[in-house]
Symmetry: C2
């Protein structure tokens, strides 16, 4: 090997070879279809954004893992670690006068300097849906339902939603006048399931014994009997007005999705928190039983657009990790069958048939047939071997003798039989199913 | 406006709003379809690559405009300025044992710090096709024909190819033993059409008067009567063996594409050069008469894979500028009609119909109809106004009275008429065309 053959991808980045690439494009396509079915319009924002924008509400952890640099004009820029900041920028500026609600969809790659591991890359793919302008529980329910539709469209089974509501806990902390910095620290500890540390921090901040014991009880409440758990939450937080409101909001959302056609499998977790600081209402993550990492997640963030300089705009959004959805699809072996074009290798015999060969290839392509020209000047036997290896459907052999009769030889590579076919009939011959897929 | 509302895109980057985004996705989709029709497999490579890889054959101009930085692990990385280096990396490593020819396709964004202007952005989109492993003229012809198919698929008219062959000039310079550094400088001057400077440089390098006068004649040869021009080239370079070979290769390629079905409009330009140093054979660019910038270009580079540490692999490739194709489509007003889903706004009247409303929305979506739920609790009149403004096809009004009869009100927003329809019949009612598109 020469010195230069050591080229490889940057650590944490990866290539998608044809099979993987086609799966990613399939998932991307499903995401776009679901957007369309739910009335979400696609927008495409840059991968390179101002550092100030991306860091505005990113939280310390995300900020510390961003790809940050200066462009040649000395601007501080970064590669997007997620899509929401870019969407919020648009909603606060270019789209600020558009009628609400705004339903927006993005799909593409994002970048974080995380330690690479199963389902986690430094360049990763997401589909992202934002519903801006409505604070109604119907909006929350819609985001949950479209997420469920997306996972279904990819053939995933045993999908479970883990749901919490940041407002229940925030209602208590705000009522107890816990300062925001401590609130955020408590949420981050809870996100890591370090409940004892969270309680300890609250005790140190002078929160009453009564209050911390309520929170201790709260974080234990989880399970699939969701309406019962909401009832218990309501009983526990009965002295905290905003927490009661939050529990009521949670109940309405849960009722909407349980009443819907799509039978979402939900686990409610009253102690559930997510890393990002900007959530204000419901939060959720999606799992399949076969995989212990979340396929994605989202939640309500009613103050975000204001923070980006826009009008107060209630909002809810979700990001789906396409790499993880692909991983789950592979584990569940649910790779969907897509309609495949017929594939044909066209082989010219001799130098003087090049024009006709090229013309035949064009005729086939115009009929939606995938054509590979044999351009290595292989002998027919060798060419057929290659076509076989590539699992192509047909080979067309263009030779002087048949051409003089206006015909070519078509070889069916599956049935292993061949015949002479008039050029005017080759498309018909190849696209007709003729019982081939029958037993 | 608050201080934060000043967020905007980084200079040279841009947002695609829904209409633009949908056009880009359309063009991307056509590129993928053409890849499929010609047997090119899609691969997806990272946007962030090692600086060494991207700069290996980039040429000074591209190198000076790359987005370069260190990642958090101290690695020198850059955003890809084009796709060929990444594809070459794969062909020299992971794919090195795959049978030839390799037909590979990529599509995505690339990055160059150019001065922004019409059709030129710092984040731009390309589709890229590489045919590796064949040095036959059929390979060159295939790349030209698929490019023509792609432009046709996007509805572009008055497409012209400008074609040259780097081997004609290189054959002369190598025979005259001009050192490579000077050869590259001459090519770059020619790329900028500074022919006199190029000739001057050659004279200063001690090239014979006879030779420079041949080159002076050569660069004047251009036009649409391509076979005649090739004949003139052959006469001019008759003492340069490699140049004669190059002219013969050019003649064969031109014959193949002129004999093909796709009627490519070609201008031959014997003095044509392209900025990149790695071309070894035919080079070309595509134009439409309405736009003075190239829609893309490509050429043969038979030594590139070796330079990336792989086996000697003849190769030809093309990159299409999707932003420019979009621009040309807009100028020619050839925005293609894509099949649009029927769009329906579903409006609930009162609080107690939420479950049914959600169920109806799901039924419609499962039939491929795009549904927006009215989630702002607008009055019916206002909701219909919004649906009208959004040019939606239908509104479905879900009220207690009709629900009790198992029905809803469907309002045809185009015909401005409404009727009560049984829930079991709504899909049929909406998807049936019923002569609506007739006069």
């Amino acid at each position: 090997m020469s010195g230069m053959s050591g080229f490889r991808t940057v650590r944490g980045m990866r290539d998608f070879l044809p099979e993987e690439a086609s799966l990613l494009r399939f998932v991307e396509d499903r995401a776009r279809k679901v957007a369309d079915l739910y009335g979400y319009k696609e927008i495409i924002t840059p991968i390179v954004e101002p550092y100030d924008l991306l860091s505005a509400k990113a939280g310390e952890e995300v900020k510390s893992r961003m790809f940050i640099f200066k462009d040649l004009g000395g601007r501080d820029v970064a590669l997007r670690p997620e899509f929401t900041a870019s969407v919020a920028r648009l909603v606060a500026t270019t789209l600020k006068n558009e009628p609400k609600p705004l339903r927006l969809f993005c799909v593409g790659s994002a970048y974080r300097y995380d330690e690479p591991q199963k389902g986690r890359y430094r360049e990763f793919w997401q589909s992202n849906y934002e519903l801006m302008g409505s604070n109604r529980p119907e909006a929350d329910a819609e985001i949950l339902m479209l997420t469920n539709t997306l996972l279904q469209q990819n053939g995933l089974r045993r999908v479970a939603f883990k749901i919490g509501h940041i407002g229940v806990l925030k209602g208590i902390l705000e009522h107890e006048k816990v300062e925001e910095r401590i609130q955020n620290a408590v949420m981050q500890l809870m996100d890591k399931k370090q409940y004892d540390d969270a309680i300890g921090l609250l005790k140190n901040s002078g929160v009453s014994e009564n209050c911390t014991s309520i929170i201790q009880e709260l974080v234990k409440l989880r399970g699939a009997n969701v309406l019962e758990i909401v009832k218990k939450i309501e009983r526990l937080v009965k002295n905290y007005e905003k927490s009661i409101e939050a529990a009521k909001n949670l109940r309405e959302i849960l009722r909407l999705i349980s009443g819907s056609e799509c039978r979402i499998d939900v686990t409610l977790d009253a102690g559930f928190a997510r890393g990002l600081e900007y959530y204000t209402g419901i939060i959720f993550e999606m799992y399949v039983t076969d995989l212990d990492i979340a396929l994605g997640g989202g939640g309500r963030y009613d103050r975000l657009i204001e923070l980006f300089g826009g009008e107060p705009t209630p909002a809810i959004g979700v990001a789906h990790g396409l790499d993880r959805i692909m991983l789950a699809m592979k584990m569940q072996q649910t790779r969907p069958q897509t309609q495949r074009r017929k594939t044909v290798m066209v082989v010219a015999v001799g130098d003087d048939v090049a024009d006709e060969t090229s013309r035949i290839a064009q005729i086939l392509r115009e009929s939606g047939i995938s054509v590979e020209l044999e351009i290595m000047r292989r002998k027919i036997g060798k060419a057929l071997e290659v076509a076989d290896k590539k699992k192509m459907d047909y080979a067309i052999i263009v030779g002087k003798k048949e051409l003089d009769e206006g015909a070519v030889v078509i070889r069916d590579l599956v049935r292993r039989e061949q015949s002479v076919v008039n050029i005017g009939k080759i498309v018909e011959r190849i696209t007709l199913v003729e019982g081939r897929d029958l037993p």
